[in-house]
Symmetry: C2
Subunit: 312 residues, 2 copies
């Protein structure tokens, strides 16, 4: 059983109450806490040694990544992060300087995005370090963007360049908070998600939540330098396009807007964010599932991105 | 380096912002999110296989305990829990039925206390299961009770009976949410904490936060049946009084009130909660540190409760 099958089994009848606007199944939970102009966003996420970082990863980057992953989920709802709690699982013989350096990395990115670190917990984790972040944020009421609003005919956009993140970018990516809020403020975004499991897998989550399908243009998918380089290094490597479609941890934004807004959005984006590519990579269709159009025609695309617990 | 020394090093200069009323160092963080009549409480906590439960623990009880620990921290601030997120770290060969039963236990106690489970995350944890809970709650503005308000002369109270929790109670304890809110509504509580590390250790946290000391009356400390039984089983066992003072995971409330309120509080408590003992166990003093008065006189009490990473 992989993680998505498990989650489906665990989340079908969760307890709820009157505060819940959106429960399990989006980038963040959305809560109505009684503030007229705001909805609150609630997110938790963990990184585990040898899964999300290695024993040789610079500790500041481990801390940075732990929080940045959650910040990216707040970005995916066009929100603003507010306060975080940190749970540290540590082996009994942990090195205090290493842990302080993890916290230094956490603190630096928290300050950069105005996030308060308001405490947490330490516990024993004998074999490997884990770091869980709980993050609370907010979005302007009416501006919070879900996964579930994509409509047939929408243009599909993605920020940045995709694939090959494990070569280094997964430790240094910039959560797209400013970009997402700007987008939601200036355009009617129908649906949005951040890319953590890979373009194909995360787009599939968005399509399923919206009960639609999509057709991607192979030539339009922005491929990172790292994915291109890796694609050239040998037989075992993924072709660069496949890497851009399925590699995890890009932490870019994927969103859809009505096709009539697409050109104006691209123009305004280039002016506002000249250094960050924005690509229109395809369109939302009726039906379900993902197809890929290239010079040979259209074919269903069924490869997925990263999946925890999946059989190797 | 033990967990408290580590926490002191990590929390001395955390990033903050205008939402923070109380950051690291109390049972929960306290946030002002712009609601006139409420402050919000934010807590995270993890349980780890073989540390907080064993491979033979009934899975429903694992889930129950994971959430109940956080509920107890909300109780310690006289708050009400609202919404929780669950991070599950699972070995690759996890048993889906076992995980569903963990969730069933989580769901049952969540429903009991009106808590919505609004999602979470699953990740790979190769050697052992961990469960991290992030919990958001609230307290009436002006009724939230911190650790830091104890004053010299205060009477010290504790609910329930202490010690020997590992014999079973640590999996079945009732978070004292109703009791704490009733207390805060009817009396001026000066300081409160829940007992997770043991009476002596947690009282020390409260005293340090309040810059005061305390004198406990040995004869007044309520000792659980489990601690009394364990104290009789052999040379290796802790004396029952020491168990009541230092065993972890009681999850009872410890609080202080002005001595003039002590008798009225005890009387009202007995009427409202006839089945749950409430004991006045001593008084807050000037200075610092903890002394224990018994038939031989007064002596400093320096043993601590449970400490993660402490040398054995």
């Amino acid at each position: 059983m992989n993680e998505f099958e498990l989650i489906a089994r665990l989340t079908h009848s969760l307890p709820t109450n009157q505060s819940v606007v959106v429960g399990a199944g989006d980038d963040c939970a959305v809560l109505d806490l009684g503030v007229a102009e705001k909805l609150f966003l609630f997110k938790t996420d963990a990184v585990v040694e040898e899964i999300h970082f290695t024993t040789t990863t610079q500790p500041e980057k481990i801390g940075r990544k732990a929080l940045a992953r959650c910040l990216s989920d707040i970005a995916a709802m066009a929100g603003t992060p507010e306060a975080a709690l940190v749970t540290l699982g540590l082996p009994r013989d942990f090195d205090p300087v290493f842990v302080e350096r993890i916290y230094a990395g956490l603190g630096e990115i928290a300050r950069q995005f105005g996030v308060a670190i308001v405490g947490g917990e330490t516990t024993t984790s004998p074999e490997r370090i884990f770091i869980n972040i709980a993050l609370l944020g907010f979005a302007a009421r009416g501006k919070c963007v879900l996964r579930s609003g994509a409509e047939s005919g929408d243009a599909i956009f993605v920020t940045g360049e995709l694939g090959g993140s494990l070569a280094g970018r997964h430790l240094e990516f910039a959560p797209r908070l400013t970009e997402a809020r700007w987008l939601a403020e200036h355009f009617s975004l129908h649906a949005m998600i951040d890319l953590s499991d890979g373009l194909a897998g995360d787009l599939k989550h968005l399509l399923d939540a919206s009960s639609v399908g999509a057709e991607l243009l192979a030539a339009a998918i922005p491929i990172s330098r790292a994915a291109k380089l890796a694609g050239k290094t040998g037989d075992a490597a993924k072709p660069a396009l496949l890497a851009a479609l399925t590699d995890g941890e890009d932490f870019e934004l994927l969103f859809t807007v009505a096709s009539k807004d697409a050109v104006a959005l691209l123009d305004a984006w280039k002016e506002r964010f000249p250094d960050l590519p924005l690509s229109c990579i395809g369109k939302v269709t009726t039906g379900s599932g993902l197809t890929l159009r290239d010079k040979h025609g259209i074919r269903p695309f069924t490869e997925r991105g990263y999946v925890h617990f999946a059989a190797a």
